[in-house]
C-alpha cells in the first residue's frame, strides 16, 4: 500500500536560481537529489554559424553577446585569435590597455557572481554591495567606449581608443578602494556560520575528477590544480606582471568562493602594475584595410573570468571565416553539475550552480 516514488522536478528553464535559462531535471527523494540532469539549449543563437557569414571585423560584437558578463575577455580572445592568424603585431600600449580592461572585466564578472551566489544562498545584502562596485567598473567602461555591458572595446591590432582624460585616475581610485570593499563582503560571508555551513563540503570534486571533467577556471583551481592560462600560456602582456594564482585544497564551494575573492584582489594588483608601467606610443598597430587571413586554422585560448575560453578559426583565405568554433568554460563546467551534486539536497543544487558561475549565453552559444 505504501510506496515511495522519485519526484521529478523541473528546475528551470524559468527559475530564479539557475542563472539564466538553464533547465535542470531533478529527481528528488524527499529533499535529497538522486538524479540531476542539466538541459541546455534554451538560449542557443547559432552565433558560430552566424559568424561564418560575417567579415572578421564584424564578429567581435557577436562574441561580446555570448558571455555578456565577461564580454571583454570574449572580445580579447577572438581578436587575438585573428591577430595570430594574420600575424598582426599589437603595440605595447595596446597590450597593456587590453590587460587593464580585461582584468576590470574579470572583477566585474566576479562581483556579479558573488552577488548572485549570495542570493542563491539567501544572503541578499551582498548582492547590492557588489553591484555598487560593479557600477563603478561599468562607469569606467562607459567612459572608455560608451557601452557598459557588451563593450566591444578591442579592435584587431589594438584597442578602440586610448584612455580618455581622467580615466586612469578613476581606475586607480577604484583599485585602491576595491580591497576594502572585498573585506566588507567577507565580513558578511567568510565568517558567517550559516554561510560556512552552506558552502563547506558542498559540491566537492577532487583534483583528478576536476581534470577528467575538463573543468577550467576557479572550479578547477578550487580542487588545487594549478592551471591558469595567464601563467601557463601568457597572452597580451600578462608575462610582464606579478600575480598569484590562488589554489584551493578541498575543492568545495567554499574554496571556490575564496579563490574568486582572491582573484579579484590579484586582478586589482595586475591593474595597478599595468597602470604604473603603462608604456607610451600607439594603442593600435598597422592593420590592413581588409582582413584576409591566409588559408590556415588557429586555436587560441585565454583565461576568461569563468575559465579557459577557446577560439577556433579556420580560414579559407577569404574575408569571412570558413569555420568558427568557441570553447566555452560555462559549457564544460556545467557538465560537472551531476557529478558535483552527488548526494546533495535541493538547496545545494542552487549553491553548486552558483559556484560554477555559468553564463547560459556562453554555454549555449
Amino acid at each position: 500500500m505504501f510506496h515511495t516514488e522519485i519526484l521529478e522536478v523541473n528546475m528551470g528553464p524559468q527559475h530564479p536560481a539557475t542563472h539564466g535559462v538553464l533547465r535542470v531535471i531533478l529527481g528528488l527523494d524527499g529533499e535529497t537529489v538522486v538524479q540531476c540532469k542539466p538541459v541546455i539549449g534554451y538560449l542557443h543563437r547559432g552565433v558560430e554559424k552566424l559568424a561564418e557569414h560575417k567579415l572578421y571585423v564584424m564578429i567581435p560584437p557577436l562574441c561580446d553577446r555570448l558571455d555578456y558578463v565577461g564580454s571583454a575577455s570574449q572580445n580579447l580572445g577572438y581578436i587575438q585569435a585573428v591577430e595570430k592568424l594574420c600575424g598582426i603585431q599589437v603595440p605595447e600600449r595596446g597590450q597593456y590597455i587590453r590587460v587593464i580592461l580585461a582584468e576590470l572585466n574579470r572583477i566585474s564578472s566576479h562581483l556579479v557572481w558573488l552577488g548572485t551566489h549570495g542570493l542563491d544562498i539567501g544572503a541578499m545584502t551582498v548582492f547590492f554591495y557588489t553591484f555598487r562596485e560593479r557600477e563603478m567598473i561599468l562607469d569606467l567602461f562607459e567612459a572608455f567606449c560608451g557601452a557598459r555591458l557588451t563593450t566591444n572595446m578591442f579592435r584587431i591590432g589594438g584597442t578602440l581608443e586610448d584612455f580618455p582624460p581622467g580615466w586612469i585616475e578613476g581606475t586607480r581610485r577604484f583599485v585602491d578602494l576595491l580591497p576594502s570593499r572585498i573585506k566588507e563582503y567577507e565580513g558578511l560571508l567568510s565568517t558567517n556560520r550559516i554561510w560556512l555551513e552552506r558552502t563547506k563540503g558542498v559540491g566537492v570534486i577532487s583534483a583528478e575528477d576536476a581534470t577528467n571533467w575538463g573543468l577550467t577556471g576557479p572550479p578547477l583551481r578550487g580542487s588545487g590544480v594549478n592551471y591558469d592560462v595567464r601563467k601557463a600560456m601568457p597572452y597580451a602582456a600578462y608575462d610582464r606582471f606579478e600575480f598569484e594564482v590562488p589554489l584551493g585544497t578541498h575543492g568545495d564551494t567554499y574554496d571556490r568562493y575564496l579563490i574568486r575573492m582572491e582573484e579579484m584582489r590579484q586582478s586589482a594588483r595586475i591593474i595597478r602594475q599595468a597602470l604604473d608601467g603603462l608604456p607610451g606610443g600607439d594603442f593600435r598597430g598597422k592593420v590592413p584595410k581588409k582582413i584576409k587571413p591566409p588559408i590556415a586554422e588557429i586555436y587560441h585560448v585565454i583565461e576568461g573570468p569563468r575559465g579557459e575560453q577557446g577560439f577556433y578559426i579556420k580560414s579559407d583565405g577569404t574575408e569571412k571565416p570558413y569555420r568558427m568554433r568557441f570553447k566555452s568554460p560555462s559549457f564544460v563546467n556545467l557538465q560537472a553539475l551531476p557529478a558535483l551534486s552527488n548526494g546533495a539536497l535541493v538547496a545545494d543544487i542552487v549553491a553548486i550552480i552558483g559556484t560554477l558561475d555559468i553564463v547560459l549565453g556562453d554555454a549555449d552559444r
Binding site: P16, I121, A123, E197, R198
Partner: protein, 354 residues
C-alpha cells in the same frame, strides 16, 4: 438584559476587537513598509519613496494593486482548499492578538471601565500557543491545494519546520511562566513589575531559544525554507496571486508582530517602562498626562518595534539555512537548551521557595 450589561459584555468587546483588528491591520501593512525601508537602508538603496512623502502611502498602493490583480487559480487545483488556505493562515494570526495586553492600566469612557486588552484569560499564553500552531494548516493546505510540485515541497518543509520549532518555542515559554507563576498574559507582566525586573535577565537563555524559534515559526530568513525563493521559487504560495497572496503575506507579518508581542510580554515587561521600580525614571511615562494607558501602549509598541527591527536586520544579514541544518539546529541545539533552561529554572525556584 439591562443595557449596561449589554454594553459591557457585547458592545465594548466588539469595539475593542474592531479597534485591535483595524490598528493591527494598519500596523501589519506598515511593517511591510518598515521592512522595505530598513532593508533599503542596509542595502544602500532608496526603498519606496514615490507614493506619498518618502513612500508612506506605499502600503495602501500595494493593497490597491493586489486587489486589482488578476486572481489566478490553477486548473488542476483543489478550488475550495485553494481559496480557504490563505484565510486559514490569517485567522489564527489575528486570533492570537485577543489575549495580548497592550497596556497596563484601564481607563474609563462615559463611566465604563475599559481594559486595554480584548480579554485576559488565565491560560493566555497557552491559548496563543494553541491558536498560532493552527497557522501551519494554511500553509500546508495552500501548498497541497495548488497541485504543483514546488508548493508541495514548500509546504512539506513548512510542516516539518513548524512541528520542530513549536517544541523549543513552547519549552522556552515555560521559563518565564515558572517565574511569574501564572499563564495569564497580564499576570506575567504584573509579576515582572512586582519582582522588579524584566524576565529577560534571568531568562536570557529562554529568550534566545524563544526568539530563534519564533523567527523559524514565522518563516523568516534565515529560516524561510518554506518560501526559499532561490530553491523553491516561492515555496507554498508559488501559485497564489492577487489578494490571496496578500493574505499569506499579511499572515506572515501578523505572525511577526504576534511573536514580537509575546516576546515583549514574557521577557521585556510588556507595557512597563524601563526599570519600572526606579522612581526617578517615572518621567519616562510622559504620556500619562493624556491617559495612563497611553504610555503603556507607547512602551509596548516601542518594544515590539525593536523586535521587528531585529527581524529585518537579521534578514539583511544572514544567508538561508539548508533544510537538514535547520532540523539539526532545532532538535539538537534549541530543544536541549530550552529543556535545560526549564530544569535549571525549576530547580532554582524550588531551592529558593523550599
Amino acid at each position: 438584559m439591562d443595557s449596561r450589561l449589554l454594553i459591557e459584555n457585547v458592545v465594548i468587546p466588539a469595539i475593542k476587537v474592531a479597534v485591535v483588528l483595524g490598528v493591527m491591520s494598519g500596523a501589519v501593512a506598515y511593517t511591510t513598509l518598515l521592512e522595505r525601508k530598513v532593508l533599503g537602508f542596509i542595502q544602500l538603496r532608496l526603498a519606496p519613496r514615490r507614493v506619498g512623502f518618502h513612500g508612506i502611502l506605499q502600503p495602501i498602493a500595494d493593497g490597491i494593486k493586489l486587489l486589482l490583480k488578476e486572481d489566478i487559480i490553477p486548473d488542476q487545483a483543489d478550488r475550495v482548499l485553494f481559496i480557504l488556505a490563505p484565510v486559514i493562515s490569517i485567522i489564527p494570526a489575528f486570533a492570537a492578538l485577543a489575549v495580548i495586553p497592550f497596556a497596563g492600566r484601564s481607563f474609563s469612557v462615559m463611566g465604563y471601565e475599559i481594559t486595554p486588552w480584548i480579554t485576559d484569560v488565565n491560560i493566555g499564553i497557552l491559548y496563543i500557543l494553541s491558536i498560532s500552531s493552527l497557522g501551519v494548516y494554511g500553509i500546508m493546505l495552500g501548498g497541497w491545494a495548488s497541485n504543483s510540485k514546488y508548493p508541495l515541497l514548500g509546504s512539506l518543509r513548512s510542516a516539518a519546520q513548524m512541528v520542530s520549532y513549536e517544541v523549543p518555542l513552547g519549552l522556552a515559554i515555560i521559563g518565564p511562566l515558572l517565574l511569574a507563576g501564572t499563564a495569564s498574559m497580564t499576570g506575567i507582566v504584573r509579576a515582572q513589575e512586582t519582582q522588579g525586573m524584566w524576565f529577560f535577565f534571568p531568562q536570557i537563555v529562554a529568550l534566545f531559544c524563544y526568539f530563534i524559534s519564533g523567527v523559524a515559526e514565522t518563516n523568516r530568513i534565515p529560516f524561510d525554507l518554506p518560501e526559499a525563493e532561490a530553491e523553491l521559487v516561492a515555496g507554498y504560495f508559488t501559485e497564489y496571486s492577487g489578494m490571496k497572496f496578500a493574505f499569506f503575506y499579511l499572515a506572515e507579518y501578523t505572525n511577526m508582530i504576534v511573536v514580537s508581542s509575546i516576546a515583549t510580554t514574557l521577557f521585556f515587561g510588556g507595557w512597563l517602562r524601563p526599570f519600572p521600580n526606579v522612581q526617578a525614571l517615572s518621567f519616562l511615562n510622559f504620556l500619562d498626562f493624556i491617559n495612563p494607558a497611553l504610555s503603556g501602549v507607547f512602551w509596548f509598541a516601542f518594544k515590539v518595534f525593536m523586535f521587528l527591527y531585529l527581524y529585518i536586520w537579521i534578514r539583511g544579514t544572514f544567508p538561508r539555512y539548508r533544510y537538514d541544518q535547520l532540523m539539526n539546529l532545532g532538535w539538537k541545539w534549541l530543544l536541549p537548551l530550552s529543556l535545560a533552561n526549564v530544569v535549571v529554572t525549576a530547580f532554582i525556584l524550588a531551592l529558593r521557595h523550599g
